[in-house]
Symmetry: C2
Subunit: 455 residues, 2 copies
């Protein structure tokens, strides 16, 4: 499961290199802990689905600075020779603790923590964020569609709109993990084993000019195809499918029709009627064009006879929330807690653990605690790398899909809903972590922190 | 300028392969023309900046199906052997006409047209869209910031939020072409020669605990650094910079301070006052955190003493408009015009040219015409590939930057503005193209098209 091409290896921001250079000069190489978390949920979102860990771990293990990078960096006349030597020899040797892919997560909960000598942990800041960000964005968006769709199928049609090919792979994978059925992205099929799906484009019909001839030819090559019916007129297209069924009689094996424009609720109902009247009850109706979780829910509410959806832009870029307010912050150095006090950008000190407390089969609340605490509930953070080496084999996609399924099923009803809940999911600080935070903040600012963020 | 890693080569959607398979079986291999255009502007946008052509051309020229792809495709038990043979031997051999990078473009104008045998042109649909989409999204967003910023500098800090590393490179390049000054993305610096920039992170200050010690150490390594002052308290941080200046006296060469939280307008004014009172008039103030074109304009309007901005998420994902309604449609086959009639998804038939008409130094309107027409104004579409081979050398970044500068300067005042204009930029159809469209539509639907979309 190679996700980060070698060409992309030395992906860092410049300030990581300058800071590392300074750390090395100063001998600031003690163990540090960095915590990666999301500060707040995007508007209208009630939860996130952690995703991208496999890519992040692989990116960490592959991070290196080949000769051409070193030459380039040297040409900037900015860095010390000792930094360049250090980079030339660099292999990531830190420990990584993380919440497994497919777990529902909430603000302030560390998705991932890096425990490593300060220069190592600092160097990977941007890379780790970059690799966790878009998969988590996409999985969180896709999960909402999965919840809205119920038994209806979901197809990822996003590759043409994703931000590059890399994003296309990450989105296809994240959507499948969240519960999508398949993807149109052939490379994602090849790389991850995700089932691939496709129908036909308008250009196919246009190339033939006559729609019935186009359908006839396509079905000759792909008898069980799903036919796109809206090139000229949706119901006219459906009538051509019916004509074809009569022509082919027992050899007619078309699985479905796809509607891609117009009022899809109205057209689906009429198409269903036409197909049923012609005895084609087994031909399913699929819809695409402008599909997002709210549209999916609207179709479900009117019980539109739609078997599934092809989802493009809204998944591909998560159009209502294309980014998360994700941070990667130093929380401990040489065994001592660290926190910043910048307004609305505080962080919680020390390496952490998250305990998820359930009541019966319902997730009830989370407790954010110090790493060494042992509290009620299930600890979410697990160690994945030790001194840079993988502790467990890579996950299987089916394993993560199963985790998402069960995570979503266990969320409180209000949090699973597309509506804003009466109050957000409850995340509290352990008394120990709360006290530590309070003590550090007073030491730093000379005044107690306002309480109330976490109660 | 390698932009598409070889690992990403066979990026297609499944339906492209099934359609090509069917075309080959049917012998539908005559020349076709596909037109790539944006159907409508995102809300609140008045123009787009075409970008990504270099990546798209390179992706086309590199597209191939290595052995492992063929094995994978064969394992799907879906395709004919002749398709697999055809893919194995595939090299793109079409002609490509496009609007050069850095040109302002408007809805319905072809950013790119592919003229090739139908299977070739169909196969590259998703790849070409994917490669042009995010650069055009990013350049269009960045251009708005450039217009708002005037003389203030703009730094791309987006890599941690871009959708993958590939997107990080594309966004850094697009932003630089649109007029940004530099990027924090080291790989973009290495690959494209874009100037790189960086300050320092909160973690650097936190690792030292004491802010003044951190500043002292960082400046020892990087005397002309820009110091981040808001880790604990912004004005306290500025006072520490002033202390350091007194300590170092003539050796103090710090270029700037960066504010990253709080009310940046208020804090910039106070920071300026403190610095000026201490005689540090040459220390510039930079702002980051939540910066977008509207914030930039607000700073400009109150004449905030800010020399430049670090821009993250709003550029990285173009958060108000992360995707464009981009289409790639068959417009001619075997010399005959093609168009679809799906509601709100029509297209204009035949290969095209766009003529840009200016009055003095102001762009006035565009005329969408058939490819062979010769009308007033400057033709925008240029041939870049002939039978798959590049006709002109790759562009230089500085050349494209200069084009963007002049294009933005020539836009009508209302279109350059961040506000919605009283009417959109005027794009008209040539009488010949309008007549052709009307004739084709009536032939297809048996009724005349409603007029008025293009007048």
């Amino acid at each position: 499961m190679i996700s980060l091409p070698r060409d992309f290896a030395p992906s860092v921001d410049l300030y990581e290199l300058t800071m590392v250079d300074a750390y090395l000069r100063e001998g600031l190489t003690e163990p540090s802990v960095f915590s990666l978390f999301v500060r707040r949920l995007p508007q209208g979102r009630n939860f996130l689905v952690a995703c991208g860990l496999e890519d992040a771990l692989e990116a960490l293990q592959n991070l290196s600075f080949p000769g051409e990078s070193i030459s380039y960096l040297s040409s900037l006349n900015l860095f010390s020779d000792s930094l360049l030597d250090w980079l030339r020899a660099f292999r990531f040797q830190g420990d990584v603790f993380a919440i497994p892919e497919g777990t529902c997560v909430f603000p302030d909960e560390p998705l991932l923590e890096v425990v490593a000598p300060l220069p190592q942990a600092q160097l990977v800041e941007t890379l780790v964020m970059n690799q966790l960000h878009v998969p988590t964005v996409a999985a969180s968006k896709a999960a909402r569609m999965v919840l809205a769709a119920g038994a209806r199928r979901l197809w990822d049609f996003g590759l043409r709109r994703t931000h590059g090919i890399d994003a296309g792979l990450k989105v296809a994978r994240a959507a499948y993990l969240a519960g999508f059925d398949s993807t149109s992205n052939v490379l994602a099929g090849q790389r991850y084993g995700i089932p691939v799906v496709g129908t036909m484009a308008h250009s196919y019909v246009l190339a033939h000019g006559d729609e019935l001839s186009a359908f006839r030819a396509f079905v000759r090559a792909f008898p069980t195809a799903t036919l796109l019916v809206d090139t000229y007129d949706t119901l006219g297209g459906v009538r051509n499918v019916i004509r074809l069924a009569k022509e082919l009689d027992k050899d007619f094996k078309v699985k479905g029709v796809r509607l891609d424009s117009g009022d899809l609720v109205v057209l689906a109902a009429k198409a269903r009627q036409l197909l049923d009247s012609a005895g084609l009850t087994r031909v399913e109706i699929f819809a695409s064009s402008g599909i997002d979780e709210k549209e999916i829910l609207r179709f479900a509410e009117v019980q539109a006879p739609i078997a599934g959806f092809g989802v493009g832009a809204s998944l591909a870029v998560s159009h209502d929330a294309p980014n998360l307010d994700m941070a990667y912050k130093l929380v401990a150095y040489a065994g001592q807690g660290r926190m910043k006090l910048s307004p609305e950008k505080e962080n919680l000190p020390m390496q952490k653990q998250v305990f998820r407390v359930s009541r019966g089969s319902r997730t009830e609340r989370d407790i954010l605690a110090s790493h060494e605490e042992r509290l009620e509930g299930k600890p979410l953070l697990v160690q994945f790398l030790s001194a840079g080496r993988r502790l467990s084999p890579a996950v299987t996609l089916e394993g993560v899909r199963e985790r998402v399924r069960s995570e979503l099923a266990q969320l409180p009803e209000e949090i699973r809903s597309l509506d804003t809940p009466s109050r957000p999911f409850h995340v509290e600080l352990s008394p120990k972590l709360a006290a530590l935070r309070q003590r550090l903040a007073s030491e730093l600012s000379g005044r107690p922190l306002p309480s109330g963020d976490h109660t």
